[in-house]
């Protein structure tokens, strides 16, 4: 009999250490959305492994950082009261971060294949989006319809699809993301909103290589050959 928990946990050990190959990382992402949330044993082990990675850091000798580092950080710290005056992405990040976090996993979750039991937005994903918005200026926002939008930055070969209050596509259906160019559409990813309607998808795609993103509704598990009708025609 195959010990699925053992196999899962073996992957999780590599996952929290960020040492999985891309193939194993994709499998770990899948397990983190499909298996771990509903498995108390694996969830407990994930928590334990994450704690171990935090503790492991103490094996490194502490070293006093250069004196100018703290003043440098101070110069870049915005007063909290000014958050409201920040750009829309800043508010957007704060909004995302305020979402209740049930499962916080390390690494980059590139997929959201879960159904109704899918956990809410993982902490690490919120952190990744926050970092992206903080580190890249200017952030370009392109509405996709359905309360979702594409967030990208010039010259940065990755982008996010983010939304709150995104409706569910219906039983047995998923949203399918396509990169549409003049002559063809390339399938990028299938996703479902989290139970609270949040969508947060990170894509390692260069936005300069296509004209626009398209979201369609397709049967879950179907072959992504050609895009069907737009999920949200209001996106134009």
């Amino acid at each position: 009999m195959i010990d699925r928990h053992g196999e899962t946990q073996e992957l999780l050990a590599g996952y929290v250490l960020q040492s999985l190959s891309s193939e194993d990382a994709a499998e770990a992402d899948r397990l983190l959305t499909e298996h771990v949330p509903g498995c108390s044993e694996c969830r407990m082990m994930l928590d334990a492994f994450q704690a171990v990675t935090g503790e492991l850091s103490l094996d490194a000798d502490p070293v006093r950082p250069p004196d100018p580092l703290l003043p440098r950080i101070h110069r870049e710290m915005e007063p909290r009261g000014r958050w409201g005056a920040r750009s829309t992405p800043g508010r957007l990040v704060a909004a995302v971060a305020s979402v209740a976090l049930v499962v916080g996993v390390g690494g980059l979750a590139l997929a959201q294949h879960g159904g109704p039991s899918t956990p809410q937005v993982p902490t690490a994903d919120v952190q990744e989006l926050a970092d992206y918005v903080i580190q890249h200026h200017p952030i370009q926002q392109q509405p996709l319809g359905g309360n979702a939008q594409e967030l990208s930055a010039p010259g940065v070969q990755e982008l996010f699809v983010y939304g709150r209050g995104v409706p569910f596509p219906g039983p047995g259906l998923v949203y399918r993301l396509w990169a549409v160019s003049r002559h063809h559409a390339t399938h990028l990813h299938d996703f479902l909103p989290y139970p609270d309607g949040t969508v947060l998808v990170r894509l390692a795609v260069d936005p300069s290589t296509f004209d626009h993103l398209l979201v369609t509704v397709e049967p879950a598990g179907s072959q992504p050959s050609e895009p069907g009708d737009p999920a949200w025609p209001e996106a134009g």
Binding site: T53, A97, Q127
Partner: protein, 188 residues
């Protein structure tokens, strides 16, 4: 919960409300550990500074990312530093020097790494416990763990470097993590 962890929670709460003094206190507590970790992973001071800078800025800008229900602030923050350090070295073209780095870290200008900085006593106590737990691992398990964690290597790279099957690397990593977890709990 240890006193140090309880204090961290209070500092984090205040930081979340925009208290710069609380931020400075967390910096005083963790900058040394964070910089030491980032330096060990990246092998370069300039990269280590960037890692620590980014980690503290992320803490200031999105303090909500830390969920106290999931463990102490210390493990959250240092895991964040580690995550960033590994990400950075993988992105940097300076990776080419990494194979030499483990044995020959860039000298720390103006600092003597052997001259351990003063740190909170509870961190020092925990550091000893972690090292004790690490020392209890079989050497082959500790090796793959260190190559992954401090070397930032993937399991495939580790397998190639050691000339062992990928499955063996996975098995040793899993065993090491489980034993380390158990050892840390026992020591605590």
């Amino acid at each position: 919960m240890r006193d140090g962890d309880r204090d961290d929670l209070e500092f984090h709460r205040r930081l979340s409300e925009g208290d710069r003094g609380a931020f400075d206190e967390l910096y005083r507590r963790y900058a040394g550990a964070a910089y030491g970790l980032a330096y060990r992973v990246t092998g370069q001071q300039i990269l280590a500074q960037d890692v620590v800078h980014d980690a503290f800025m992320a803490l200031w800008r999105t303090p909500e990312a830390f969920d106290p229900a999931r463990g102490p602030f210390r493990t959250f923050f240092l895991a964040l530093v580690h995550h960033r350090a590994v990400d950075l070295v993988r992105r940097e073209s300076r990776l080419r020097a990494r194979s030499e780095r483990a044995a020959n870290l860039e000298p720390l200008v103006g600092e003597d790494p052997a001259d351990a900085i003063a740190e909170e006593s509870y961190l020092g106590v925990r550091r000893k416990e972690v090292r004790e737990a690490l020392a209890s691992l079989p050497s082959e398990q500790r090796q793959v763990l260190e190559m992954a964690y401090f070397g930032g290597k993937t399991q495939v790279q580790i397998a190639e470097e050691l000339g062992i099957p990928l499955g063996t690397v996975k098995t040793r990593t899993f065993a090491a993590m489980r034993k380390l977890r158990a050892a840390l709990e026992e020591i605590s």
